[in-house]
Amino acid sequence: MSGRTVAIFGATSAIAEQVARRFAVRGSRFFLVARDPTRLERIAADLAIRGAASVHTHSADFDEPAALEPMLEAMERAVGLPEIVLVAFGTLGDQAAIARDVEAVRRSLTTNFSSPACLLSALAEKMERAGRGLVAVITSVAGERGRASNYVYGSAKAGLSTFLEGLRQRLAPSGVQVLDIRPGPVDTPMTREIGRGGPLLASPERVAGDIERAIDRRRALLYTPWFWRWIMLVIRAIPEPIFRRLRL
């Protein structure tokens, strides 16, 4: 398969890096954004050796509103308007600590909802005008039911999924696809920090393979691994009086 132009926001995330490797092998051109310039440089070197036609990097803080405009200018200088946009930044955080700290709630909602929503709004403008492309955004199955263990994160992701649904409807006439990626728990530094585990933990490699396929097929919604579609179907169907008593 041929190379594409790919912009990744949150390029040091474990899932994003594995997706990038898959597109690098195909000879793609990259624009990568993340906070940590040292890690970005390493990832850029890696992608170039794996076959990327070019890799441009830009370090920025997504929660800094003033960083948005320069970020998008840098993108257009580097690769023009990308065919594929992947938005992958987010923080899971420790819910127990977040729930008791209003500032932490604000930060979590900013990073997981407001910042990606603002970035996507700015990008949508450009892509709508160009009339092509695909926007893929990593949300979460945690957005489908509010649970005591992660409802701040979950509600931000739920908001983002609703945002994407609307954006997809808006962009449909212009031929731009919007892909909502809902992974189950993935074995990454993000989940590792809070000591989560279990048999349902998927590897970033596997999730990345699913994402590549969903992008190539221009799908609108992806559950990864596939069984989460059915698990969530059941969980969504649990009546509220019962759900309240569950410890999921």
């Binding site: 940590d36 040292t38 390493r42 990832i43 890696d46 050796i49 530094p189 590792r192």
Partner: protein
């Protein structure tokens, strides 16, 4: 939680006999690895790659394992000279997918210089065990192709090591079982080969004499290895099949890329299907495959010849819930024919046949590491289903034969060798001990090197 590191489920090594709980760190950058090491507190530390060591050399019960799978970036590749700089958690499988097979200037393609029997190991692990392959005669051990690495020490920070700079630490780390510090980055010299297709010839031999004759006649072959029928006794003792292979020029045919295992053993069967009956049938089948001529020639992709077991995922589960013991020794050339015969006799008499018995000659090229396993001679590798004390007693008898022949055992495959066997096989062990990082340890090292009371000993082999 001590030091804030999550605790793992019981970690298993490849033989599935040893298991232990650990604290786990999985850094995704060298800086994160430094942070993890700095936050270790009272925990002793051991790097952990893909867990393909069979025994207890990759385990550190009660301590901290720094998993390197998140350190897997390729950093620089000089396509003209075949020199790669990469993070230490990069696996050989990854290199097979990315760099192996790329055209080298002046003809041919780039290939791994040395590879063990599985591609699912990391660069750091290949150095820490100074692994060898079927081309030992011409290439020597893996460490010979390592130009440099960056080592992270708890007491000295980051150190660049080469044969000239920090030379003693360089030699201690090659084959050093992860005890001298955490390898962060590696500079490896790839090997130019004609192509990735191999001409493979399998030849039957009727006894050990036949094996050594074929080994002498195979000087023009890059890769050699033999499979031995461990059940054969008397005049058939040491019969088997000798396989030899060499690279065909590229362009002769298309080479399929290695694929992930199509079949994976999904769970551990309650009773191992690898018993004596299946073994007898298996051996008869294998020997019969070559037909009356006892010889066959094939063309195989490089990876299919080198990694026959990689096509079955988690094959180690086939040995059942009790796991299995690996035993690999090397004995020097003069003593080898007699010692190998005695080893095979002892195994045949014990009735504990080994499913996989591999015989190989190792060439005279010296290994660079203070604790490197490869040395000139004959190496015999076997695995035995774990039958408790019966198996351990058999292995103890084999130890004596190896020791008398002046040989040594492979730590990567070991979970039980007594202290005297280790020290006799590795006369440099004390020199090595001087370079062990004060914060690092493993179950293996506590068993054979220095005894460290800070962390609990391995909860016994079951």
């Amino acid at each position: 939680m001590v030091s804030g590191f999550p605790e793992s489920e019981a970690h298993l090594s490849w033989g599935r006999v040893h298991r232990a709980r650990h604290r786990i760190a999985r850094p995704s950058s060298p800086e994160a690895a430094e942070v993890a090491l700095a936050r270790r507190g009272e925990l002793s530390v051991l790097p952990f790659g893909r867990g393909r060591s069979y025994g207890d050399s990759c385990l550190n019960p009660g301590g901290l394992l720094i998993e390197t799978r998140g350190l897997d970036r390729l950093l620089a590749f000089d396509a003209a000279r075949g020199i790669l700089r990469a993070e230490a958690g990069v696996s050989l499988a990854d290199l097979l997918d990315t760099l192996v097979g790329r055209p080298a200037p002046g003809g041919g393609v780039w290939c791994l210089p040395v590879s063990p029997g599985t591609r699912f190991v990391t660069l750091g692990g290949a150095i820490a065990n100074d692994v060898h392959g079927k081309n030992h005669g011409i290439a020597g051990s893996f460490g010979r192709h390592v130009r440099a690495f960056t080592l992270l020490r708890s007491d000295r920070g980051r150190l660049e090591c080469t044969a000239e700079r920090n030379a003693e630490l360089f030699r201690a780390t090659i084959g050093g079982l992860g005890l001298t510090g955490l390898i962060l980055e590696v500079t490896l010299e790839l090997q130019r080969v004609d192509g990735l297709l191999l001409e493979v010839e399998d030849v039957r031999f009727d006894d050990l004499e036949g094996f050594y004759r074929l080994a002498r006649e195979s000087a023009g072959w890059t890769y050699t290895v033999a499979w031995v029928d461990c059940l054969a006794r008397g005049r058939s003792l040491g019969r088997g099949i000798f396989s030899r292979a060499r690279h065909l020029p590229s362009g002769i045919g298309t080479v399929e890329r290695p694929r992930p295992p199509r079949f994976s053993v999904p769970f551990t069967p309650p009773v191992t299907p690898l018993g004596r009956t299946t073994l007898t049938a298996f051996n008869a089948l294998i020997l019969g495959r070559l037909g009356p001529a006892g010889r066959r020639v094939r063309t195989l992709p490089w990876h299919r010849f080198l990694y026959p077991l990689d096509s079955i995922g988690a094959w180690n589960r086939l040995y059942g819930p009790r796991g299995f013991w690996q035993y690999q020794c090397v004995v020097p050339p003069g003593e080898a024919p007699r010692a190998v015969a005695r080893l095979l006799e002892t195994i045949a008499h014990s009735g504990q046949g080994s499913f996989l018995a591999v015989l190989k000659t190792m060439g005279p090229l010296p290994s660079p590491g203070l604790l490197s396993f490869p040395m000139e001679g004959t190496t015999l590798a076997l695995d035995f289903p774990n039958r408790g004390s019966a198996t351990l007693e058999l292995l103890a008898r084999l130890d004596r034969i190896v020791l008398e022949a002046g040989g040594r055992l492979y730590p990567a495959k070991d979970g039980r060798m007594p202290v005297d066997v280790f020290r006799a096989g590795y006369p440099n062990w004390q020199r090595f001990a001087d370079h062990v990082d004060p914060a690092f340890s493993s179950a293996f090292w506590r068993r054979v090197g220095n005894v460290d009371e800070r962390t609990p000993a391995m909860r016994g082999a079951r």
